[in-house]
Amino acid sequence: MANTTVERPAGDEFQSSELTDIYRLMLLIRRLEESVYRKFHEAKIGGYLHRYDGMEALVVGIIPQLRLPGDKVLCTYRDHAHALACGTSAKAIMAELMGRATGCALGKGGSMHLTDPDRGFLGGDGIVGGPVPISLGVGYALKYKGEGNICVCYFGDGAMNQGGVHEAFNMVGLYKLPVLYVLENNQYAMGTSVERSTGQPDFVLKAKAHGIEGEKVDGMDYFTVRDTVKRAIARIRETGEAYFLEMDCYRFVGHGIGDDNTKAWMTYRNEEEVNEWRQRDPLLRMRDTLEAKGLITPDEAERLDKEVREEVEEAVAFAEASPEPPLDSLYENVFS
């Protein structure tokens, strides 16, 4: 069905083939996280691990619209999905998570520090709010070079309470820099709900207070994200000014590998709430839409899933077969 355009959803001028690619990417993200989780519990992966399950639309609805590597992407430690969307292979990611020399950061970064500058991915960041001051510099450099590129900077609802975010917002508003801010509002910062962490919950207002326009978006629906972002990116490229999107979403699993949604950690939310949000799973919604519109058949969907699972398994095999970093690399890369 390639090249036949889809009528619904309105304003959609993407090719069906592109939509199946998007769906496949969502699947890949979900399956990779599931696999990563198992590998952690097999002690093949260490450190902290933060899964993106439930938030996929924020990545697949944005990053495929960028002109990488000219455009740049920054995000948090919850960064596996962003790397995949930027084009980093599952192999390079899985190898990084297993601390192998073939990892996208040579095994030195790990889960929180995936990076792939050749693809415009400037990496995850283990410090809450950390990417935002960096985005100020990236945005400044892009304006300085004047090639019309933009920076997309993801960060969490908890990060809105970091002073550095406000310093950077103010300077980005002052200098008028081409940055798209994506607030991954998954309702919680670890165990702290938005209401328990802010004196005023309207995040868009916090951006406006620094001279950055923005709006709130349903982050659980691919098409809504994609269409809003399309407008936002066009606006940024045209005006050169930053824009802020608060994306309403939810993480289906615990904050990190340590917070496993088990009873013990259910101090801040309950199963009912999680299940309610799971009804809005962006992955299932996407599949339903594609099937409803006849862009994909149940068999094709199954085939895609199988294909993706294989890709993830290959990545695991690749990583496990890869060597650890040589010991003398310990002292390499401290300086360029």
């Binding site: 260490g46 450190g47 902290y48 990084e96 601390g99 192998r100 950061a105 095994g107 030195k108 970064g109 790990g110 889960s111 929180m112 520090h113 960041d125 283990g126 410090i127 809450v128 709010g129 950390g130 908890g158 990060a159 309470n161 970091q162 002073g163 550095g164 910062a189 670890m190 165990g191 702290t192 328990r196 962490s197 802010t198 101090t267 801040y268 650890e324 970093p325 010991l327 690399s329 310990l330 002292y331 401290v334």
Partner: protein, 325 residues
């Protein structure tokens, strides 16, 4: 006496002090409803309520300001940093405010505040989550710097810290939270600052350490004992104030010393120890003081690299052999 974990000993210290003194309160990220990231404050919100066990946003500058300002106004706050790495965000409030207000006010304002939380490395948390910076705090006048190595000290030193009228940097080691030990349950039990503990007596060489470094030294001492080398192991417990007398007395006896810590070695606390031992016992030394510390690199993620970056008891053994060679 009761057997408990380092982490429980910390909780007991805070609980006892909060029961004793209504001006003591705890604040930090996830210390309350979440029961503490490392469960150190488990149950305390239920026991003391939200005014005294305060969940904060992810705002380290705010946390430091909350604690410092409250201390300046007569309360005795305990501020928890989820890990000491995040205290970097609050460095101005810590160094330019908490540490200096007493001096700048000519002693008219006191600042009785404890900044505590986990430090230490070893679980592949990579570069941004693997630094404690006790050398920085020890370098800065106005802080007392405390790093317990055992459950009993965790309790006794934390109680002393809470009762102290000055800003105390209290660094726990995440890798020691599970360590079991005998701990006094006497609410009047405290451990004084500035008194090192001799954890093992020996005649051939003095091993000086703190926090997890003490455990490396004790393990090394055992290994070396099998070879007939008797190490004296000194646990400093507090870096500021520093008990050099115990260290120098030992070195004058053993004529050799190794100083060990987990943190980066360059321009660090073991550098200071080395300088002071040479200054104080130069003529008694048969060999230069050896330093053991972490590799001077940002902490790598890969397990094999991380292992190579963290000092082990074997590194202490090797240093002892260099010193005695």
């Amino acid at each position: 006496m009761a057997t408990m974990r380092y982490q429980q000993a910390l909780r007991l210290a805070m609980t006892e002090e909060m029961e004793r003194d209504p001006n003591v309160f705890l604040c930090g990220e996830e210390v309350g409803q979440y029961q503490g990231t490392y469960r150190v404050s488990e149950g305390m919100l239920q026991k003391f309520g939200p005014m005294r066990v305060v969940d904060t946003p992810i705002s380290e500058i705010g946390i430091a300001g909350l604690a410092t300002g409250a201390a300046m106004t007569g309360l005795r706050p305990i501020a928890e940093f989820m890990t000491w790495s995040f205290a970097l965000e609050a460095m101005d409030q810590l160094v330019n405010h908490a540490a200096k207000i007493t001096y700048m006010s000519g002693g008219r304002i006191t600042c009785p505040v404890v900044f505590r939380g986990p430090a230490g490395v070893g679980t592949q948390l990579s570069a941004q989550h693997s630094q404690s910076m006790e050398s920085w705090y020890a370098h800065t006048p106005g802080f007392k710097v405390v790093l317990p190595a055992f459950p009993e000290d965790a309790k006794g030193l934390l109680k002393t810290a809470i009762r102290d009228n000055n800003p105390v940097i209290f660094m726990e080691h995440a890798g020691l939270y599970g360590l079991q030990g005998e701990v006094s349950e006497d609410p009047d039990f405290t451990v004084p600052f500035g008194k090192a503990a001799i954890r093992r007596t020996g005649t051939d060489i003095t091993l000086v350490a703190y926090s997890r470094g003490v455990h490396l030294c004790l393990k090394a001492a055992e290994t070396l004992a099998k070879e007939g080398i008797e190490c004296e192991v000194i646990d400093l417990r507090t870096l500021v104030p520093l008990d050099m007398e115990t260290v120098l007395t030992s070195v004058r006896k053993t004529h050799h010393a190794v100083c060990a810590q987990e943190e980066w070695r360059n321009v660090s606390f073991v550098s200071e120890l080395s300088a002071r031992i040479h200054e104080g016992a130069f003529d008694d030394l048969d060999a230069p003081v050896e330093r053991v510390g972490g590799a001077d690199v940002p902490m790598p993620y890969a397990k094999n690299l991380e292992r190579a970056a963290i000092p082990t008891d074997n590194d202490v053994v090797a240093a002892v052999k260099r010193a005695l060679a």
